[in-house]
Amino acid sequence: MLADIITPDLFASALRMATPLALAAIGGTICERSGVVNIALEGIMLCGAFAGVAVTLAVGNAWLGVLAAVLAGVVIAAIHAFTSINLRSDQVVSGTAINILALGLTGFLMEILYGHPGTTEAVTTIKPIFRFASERGGGGFVAEVWHWVNTILFSHTPIVYMAIIIAIAMQWAMYNTRWGLHLRALGEHPRAVDTVGVSVLKGRWIAVLISGALAGLAGANLTLEQVGSFTENMTNGRGFIALAANIFGRWTPVGSYGASLLFGFADALQIKLQIFRGEINIPPQFFLMLPYILTVIVLAGVVGRSVGPAAVGKPYEKG
């Protein structure tokens, strides 16, 4: 049975499941590094997922759908930026309002556009980039290794690779560019940034908008590459798991990606195990709980040793 569970597609599936979490988690990292808490990731992802499907259904081009998802993410994030940076609202409360707004807005638009609640029509999903031939147990050792490599690394859709590139690029940018230096300083000591003549408001706005774009892209990955349709509230807490991944990844983009891989693996494993639930005799709901339980365990084990930006959650007032 173990050989049926530990297969190349288990790991490939882990990478797929990790992608929306990772994109949102990196968005959370950038946002929190600038000093703004973003618990709206869940709602932004949901709006991205919806915009992606709606535009794809309307124009028939999934890439325009991806673009729409990113734009939707930016627009929704702008609300969060305005309320938490300019109006200095409680950032967690503002994020909560956005999550509720996202539920309402996507549901409302769905009924207006398609005349019914629930799930939209299916769209043609974006196809994997590479198509290399490989077969399981086909030949010798080399063929087997190639099959594993091909399935795990080369079977994916574009946004899966984009997420990896974004993680590395953001990591580099955060520690090697002026923008990165300012970003990190914004979350630790905004007044110092202000003193050297860099606008705290602008810096934080940009960070929040980037997080919106990434969470929107995460939504596009969910609907346009994985599921192929939109269902109300389909993000199912992924935005919150992404926040945990950001903490576990110690507020770094690559760390967030790595942590998301762990949660993605848990998700892939629970899906795989459900196939065998007749043999292990455990109800499916317990498998579905796994990613959420794992998130709590990870948080319990890591928080305290992983310290966030000093000024996170505190509105900045020019003094």
């Binding site: 618990i39 609300i79 309320t83 300019n86 109006l87 200095r88 609202s89 409680d90 967690v92 409360v93 503002s94 909560t96 309002a97 956005i98 509720i100 707004l101 539920l103 309402g104 807005l105 549901g107 409302f108 769905m110 009924e111 207006i112 609640p117 199912n236 807490g237 919150f240 798991i241 926040l243 945990a244 903490i247 109800p283 709901q285 317990f286 579905l288 709980m289 959420y292 339980i293 998130t295 709590v296 948080l299 319990a300 928080v303 305290g304």
Partner: protein, 375 residues
Amino acid sequence: MSAAAEDRSTNRDWAAIAQKVGTPFASVLLAILIGSLIMWVSGYDPIAAYAALFQGSFGTPKAFGDTLLKSTPLILAGLGLAYGFRANLFNIGAEGQLFMGGLAAGWLGLVLAGQPWYVALPLLLLAAMLAGAAWAFIPAILKARIGAHEVITTMMFTYIARYFVSYLVIGPLKSPGQIPQTGLLPPESQLPRIQSLFSDATLQAMPFLKMGRAHMGILVAIVAAVIVWWVLKYTTLGYENRAVGYNPWAAETGGISVQWTTVKALCISGSLAGLAGAVEVMGVHHRLFDQFSSGFGFTGIAVALLAKNHPIAVIPAALLFGALSAGAGTMQLMADVPQKIILIVQALVIFFVAAEGIVTYFVKQRQKEATSNVG
């Protein structure tokens, strides 16, 4: 959130009171206005929509009964959120504790079949409170001991609770038949409908008492609100709760254990959410199934924020959201507007209540323009 603001109001300064009540009122008004704008842009008639909404929530005694029905769990969940907010804790996962409270009531009610109502009702409510508190306990400990953010942990526990309840009503607790639900609670474990307490003659004479499905849970909720108010205002428990919320360092220096207060606050918050689940099961559905709550725990957030975390103010705030929720169906039926607009209005209310800086922001903008015009 701001325990200090609450304390200041004790000097009964009318201007302060006007401002305090003014913000929530203005927030609701603005939210409703923007809601109509959204309806208008989407091609609906906002006036017809709100008229239908009003008809469906206050138009008849039965409609008002529905408003009370929806408000009941909202008061309790809102109280839970408010109690947490007062200690600077955001129990975003009240929905999970609400599910566990509903589960406790739905299960224990069947176990206690044959007991008189005066034994069954208190025990069920107590069990639901304990279940809600227990579900908040692990996030509470994690928050107090290592600072794991309760927003993430209680949210995760909400998903776990939903799957757990879903498993139970499909599996071990399922009553015979096709539908995944538990058996019907015995009458002694049900919260009676308000109109069932009056004789037919009385109902004839006073037709406004014919409040349909509204049940005695509203009494439980109002009593709970008064108790929470009293606890916060007059007891050491409440004082410590507010002190930790206002300034944990000062509280710690003053000899209050911040950790222990945090645990107590989140568990009490959870117990109130649990109670919300219980009244929904005992008063409305009379059994447990996995969709028994329509997000009351999440709406409780809006209720608490609108009430500025004042336990008594939670009651009118809950009535507002209860009315929106009760009238939404009529609105969809008569004006064809999708019910989801209610969620949008709810989110807008939260935005405006939270954005207390909004007025100062626009005043400052105005001043900036003025000075730049002069310069």
